[in-house]
Symmetry: C2
Subunit: 377 residues, 2 copies
């Protein structure tokens, strides 16, 4: 039995595979700041409650678990390595990539990373896992590798974060559900964007029709190479539709012209090649009321940091798991883990019927539990 933390299919359509293309290189400045931010976050986590502090302190203090980043030659792989080393994680100097990259040694995160192609992976991963029993794998490879990779991680028994989009998602979920491992699967690793999406979804669920008659304008700006409409925009629009707004996806204003992005949207010049700006504007029928929501991302640091958060969650989960003695114990732990981790994750401890977990404040009502588990990271 395993637990898979995945984004809901309704929120992230297959088109959102393209989300991984939206990232551009992050600036030197953001790297400097990231170290400080992680410090703040971890302190905040440690301070959350006396119980958490008492039991979780060792985890917080000893976060330096080993992490293996597959797809390390890609932009997201590199960004995750940067964020992971900034957070103090131990980078394993082995990475899986395509046949073409096989045999390369790349310098990343202060280490020489040996890149392996498709052959002999199972033995290599088993060996790395044997040497690093606390290993967490992060996958930012290519859509065509998603299912094979997930099957490999599941077979060897390594918990993983799947940041790669595409592939056969249902098969992916089934692979993890049938295995004995934990995984975080999401095509949107920006934790704050996920929180915003979840809030919109909840508002739509609880107040259907509240914005009936309102008109909606949606503008999204991405780098010129992105041809289709943002999957995140589609997910938010579907919430507005449930809120009673009549809107067709074709009405989204796609901004792909760098001149407009600079002058009208306000994208910083250095991020023209990689950004994801979204604006939703609601107007009441009599035009006296308007609401506006924006989420604007430059570069990929938000996704890299969200991925590292997911890896930290998995590492904590696995450590608790190791201490698990019985169901009752597991349930108590689940409460504490949830208290500590709920900022980024939804937790269903294995062996526990989600309906029994009254402690989890995301468990709206029985019928919604499954959807919510799927929905929030």
């Amino acid at each position: 039995m395993a637990t898979v933390f995945r984004a809901t299919a309704s929120l992230f359509s297959p088109q959102q595979q393209n989300l991984k293309l939206i990232h551009s290189s992050s600036s030197r400045r953001s790297v400097c700041c990231r170290r400080r931010r992680f410090g703040i976050r971890l302190r905040a986590m440690a301070a959350q409650s006396a119980i958490v502090e008492e039991e979780e302190k060792p985890l917080v203090r000893n976060l330096a678990f080993p992490i293996m980043v597959n797809g390390c030659t890609g932009k997201m792989g590199k960004a995750v390595i940067e964020a992971a080393t900034s957070a103090g994680l131990q980078l394993v100097p082995v990475s899986f990539s395509s046949e073409e990259d096989a045999g390369q040694v790349v310098q990343l995160g202060g280490k020489d990373i040996h890149v392996h192609g498709p052959s002999g992976r199972e033995d290599i991963l088993a060996s790395v896992f044997h040497e690093n029993p606390d290993l967490i794998v992060v996958d930012y490879t290519v859509p065509s590798a998603v299912n094979d990779n997930a099957e490999l991680y599941s077979k060897v028994g390594v918990p993983f974060v799947m940041g790669t989009t595409g592939g056969d998602r249902e098969r992916l979920y089934k692979t993890v559900e049938d295995s004995k491992i934990y995984a975080v699967i999401s095509p949107q690793m920006g934790k704050q964007v996920v929180a915003f999406l979840a809030a919109m979804e909840i508002m739509a669920e609880q107040f259907p029709g509240a914005f009936s008659g309102y008109s909606l304008e949606v503008m999204e700006s991405h780098q010129a190479s992105k041809l289709d409409t943002s999957g995140t925009a589609k997910a938010v629009i579907s919430c507005f539709q449930k809120l009673g707004v009549s809107f067709d996806i074709d009405q989204v204003q796609l901004i792909r012209d760098p001149k407009l992005q600079l002058e009208m949207v306000g994208v910083p010049e250095e991020h023209l090649a990689g950004h994801a700006f979204h604006m939703y504007h609601l107007t009441s029928p009599d035009k006296t009321v308007s609401f506006e929501f924006q989420h604007n991302v430059c570069g990929r640091s938000i996704y890299a940091e969200g991925t590292v958060d997911a890896a930290i969650f998995l590492a904590s989960k696995v450590r608790f798991e190791g201490r698990q003695e019985n169901l009752q114990h597991d349930r108590r732990l689940a409460r504490r883990q949830h208290a500590m981790m709920r900022s980024s994750i939804v937790l269903v401890p294995h062996g526990v019927n989600p309906e029994e977990l009254e402690c989890l404040n995301w468990s709206h009502c029985k019928s919604n539990i499954e959807a919510l588990v799927d929905e929030i990271l």
Copy 2:
């Protein structure tokens, strides 16, 4: 036994009494459009489900219940009368107001309304209620009248919508809770603003710390006569604080200068004397990510329409109540009512333990039910 639908104390502070000052007269255009909007909304409600359609059609068709608007000489009272008559409700030609206004006959909603001062109210109300057993009262009077009025409505047994802010709120809630009537009590009658606030509150509850390290800027613009900070802004800021943002209320940028409102904020000139614009801007520590939320209200039509929605809800509630036969029946009705009304209201049918109502999708978890009942409208 009675049910009170009130806004949570945490969301709406006493300072928000001033919210009632933000309204200005609505334009002719908005009145024309309102009729159309109501048509849309009611059709949408009727179409929500086969079960609802079957049983609720008579309610939807026969919405013309009598409504008495107290404080009809005030701006909000007038706006509610306008919205109520546009929605096809039957305006009762009697209204309670201050001693100074007593004896006046004012023409509103196509009727001559007789204004009564404080004396003889109980007999007058009892007589109006006797002639109009489906009566719903709306109160937009003054803070000093809130408690006396609520006690009068409760004593006579008339369901009411309390849009007047101020007074002793705890005493107000207790009055209604101790009585056998239903009431909707909220210092914020803008249904869409309430939905937005509830979504923010839920996001803060479910993702505490998700925006740790983010910096926040808040700007709010109201007519120059409003001296203090918007209560709605304070409520939203408290959500951001739970989300991990460090922010002090003193940091809110209050815009009261009409020149700035016109040129910087973009307030339409005709609404300088009555508007409520709010902007919240979040920036990630490395400045690569930003979120922005705005809710901008001109005039008072949103509040008047929300008030009429609340009155319609109460009227439906009372009719269902009349048909109630037993607990099981009540629970079934509760589900249908909820399906029909959840866009604007939270429902706890009397005699039913909220914990048993698994059908209500807002009932997050046992510990949250009370807070949510308080929170949404």
